[in-house]
């Protein structure tokens, strides 16, 4: 079905490790000042994940806690260096994670402007879109407060509104909508569907199967750092539910 479409993201045999300078029992037996490997533990977060995403797809990413979903998103966004393999994309993907604010000591208004400029808009474009960004976030009356004074849902609203303001792109949403209320979740899910229609590609990490069913055209199941299943949402979710 997807064969004729244009690929936007290609993930090729992706391996990601985390090196942790661990202390405690497990590290003790190897502790020596001279060895460089003192107490280093390596976590293989991704062990060879490959897939291709196409224009106009929204892909749900599911899996249990610690399976490597966030790691995959960070690697696709280019924020995590793979030890092996590579990620290719048609444009620089933007990642919406769970961290609260962009610049927490600056006001919401300034975050919108700086976010737009950092995404490559001109000052005029930012000015033009400012109103629609704020409108979408629905928190106009808080725009003159520093973002550290925002609730996590308010911050998520604003971040999502900023990220979504640029069209035709690859958007990675890692549980960023989970803290939003029902109204905002519905609005942003609608926006994700629109983006898909504009030939964008969206990845949505979520533990809410309902939200995945409603927005995604395809689901990827990550299990212990490997791709366990890739296919129709209803099918993959059925298998996923069976396994837990």
């Amino acid at each position: 079905m997807t064969d004729k479409q244009t690929p936007t993201v290609v993930v090729d045999n992706l391996h990601v490790d985390y090196k942790i300078f661990a202390s405690g029992k497990a590290a003790k037996d190897r502790r020596s000042l001279l060895s460089r490997q003192r107490g280093v533990r390596v976590v293989h977060a991704l062990k060879g994940v490959s897939f291709t995403a196409y224009e106009g797809e929204s892909i749900g990413v599911i899996g249990h806690n610690g399976s490597g979903k966030s790691t995959l998103m960070r690697a696709v966004a280019g924020l995590q260096q793979p030890v092996k393999g590579a990620v290719y994309a048609s444009s620089r993907p933007s990642l919406l994670g769970v961290n609260a604010a962009l610049l927490s000591d600056l006001t919401g208004e300034k975050n919108v402007i700086l976010g737009g400029l950092a995404l490559g808009m001109t000052p005029e474009e930012v000015e033009e879109r400012y109103d629609s960004i704020v409108e979408f976030s629905g928190i106009r009356e808080f725009m003159d407060l520093p973002m550290q004074a925002y609730s996590s849902g308010m911050a998520a609203r604003l971040r999502f509104s900023i990220a979504i303001s640029r069209n035709h792109q690859i958007l990675l949403v890692d549980e960023a909508l989970a803290v939003g209320d029902k109204e905002f979740r519905e609005k942003s899910e609608q926006r994700i569907r629109d983006l898909r229609e504009e030939a964008g590609t969206v990845f949505l990490v979520s533990h809410s199967m309902r939200s995945i069913m409603e927005t995604c055209t395809r689901v990827i199941w990550i299990d212990h750092g490997t791709l366990k299943m890739d296919g129709e949402p209803s099918e993959v979710i059925r298998e996923y539910k069976k396994s837990t």
């Binding site: 290609v10 990620v87 290719y88 700086l114 400029l117 000052p123």
Partner: protein
């Protein structure tokens, strides 16, 4: 599934590797396109800082002025008068300290520019070089009120405006290049080694003493072998300060070594800093 050649597929579709460092010219072009981000961020940082204090903009000038007063008081008493014989001491001290502040703040804020904006770096993709550059721009903005106050202090202490004052911006331009290079180098070092932020104030202090803010290097080293003064003048920070001093103060002068070190040092550190920072672009933002 495994027999698909993903790399070839990506090549065919014209996809580029994510996170790959663009070649330097393309990188600089992208930076130029987003220059407004750096200038706005600099402005907002100043505004945010100002709104937190009652005196606001006053502190931009007052803080270095008070520091200069402390140093002036302490060293004015301790140091032998011969170290500043014939100097108009207060204008000499304040000029030196204000110009030094441009270097010190660019250095320390540049060092923290990537690690201190981790949340921003982790969520948006943009050339990371904008952050240390923005730190230098911020200090350039803050330099303007400082130079205005300096002009008043100079006049108040009997150093009257002359045509040579107009050359000060040219010196500060080369100093800005130098500071930007230092900020870029410090920003990358901090990413590799967080502990570097602990060393920054120590290096700054060391350079402060080597630069001759509250004494004249040229006078103090006058009786020592000439190579010592030559060595001291190879420090670009001292050279910028000395050049500014000779433009605004009576009886201060600079030689060719100072001029050449200032210009060549500024350009070399700037270019070196850009290359050094850019070559690790793929590393920033990964914890």
């Amino acid at each position: 599934m495994t027999e698909i050649d993903y790399a070839a597929l990506a090549r065919e579709a014209g996809l580029e590797r994510v996170g790959a460092r663009p070649p330097l010219p393309a990188y600089l072009k992208e930076m130029w396109e987003r220059r407004h981000f750096a200038t706005r961020l600099a402005r907002y940082r100043i505004e945010a800082q100002l709104s937190q204090n009652r005196l606001g903009l006053g502190w931009v000038v007052l803080s270095p002025l008070l520091q200069a007063a402390v140093y002036g008081f302490v060293f004015g008493l301790i140091m032998d008068r011969g170290s500043r014989a014939g100097l108009n001491f207060i204008p000499f001290l304040v000029t030196g300290f204000f110009v030094f502040q441009f270097f010190a703040q660019s250095f320390s804020q540049g060092a923290r520019s990537i690690t201190g904006n981790a949340s921003l770096v982790r969520s948006l993709g943009f050339p990371r070089m904008l952050l240390p550059v923005s730190a230098v721009i911020r200090n350039l903005y803050e330099l303007v009120p400082m130079m205005v106050v300096l002009a008043f202090i100079l006049v108040g202490y009997g150093e009257y405006p002359s045509w040579s004052w107009l050359l000060v911006p040219a010196v500060l331009f080369f100093m800005m290049l130098f500071n930007a290079g230092i900020a870029l180098i410090a920003a990358r070092l901090t990413v590799h080694l967080r502990d570097f932020t602990q060393i920054v104030p120590i290096i700054t202090r060391l350079i402060l003493y080597m630069t001759g803010i509250f004494y004249s290097l040229e006078l103090v080293l006058a009786d020592n072998p000439p190579w010592m003064l030559t060595l001291a003048q190879l420090n670009p920070v001292h050279d910028y300060i000395q050049m500014v001093r000779s433009m605004v103060l009576e009886g201060q002068e600079f030689n060719t070594l100072i001029l050449v070190t200032g210009i060549v040092g500024g350009i070399a550190v700037f270019i070196g800093g850009i290359v050094f920072f850019w070559s690790a672009e793929e590393r920033y933002g990964r914890d």
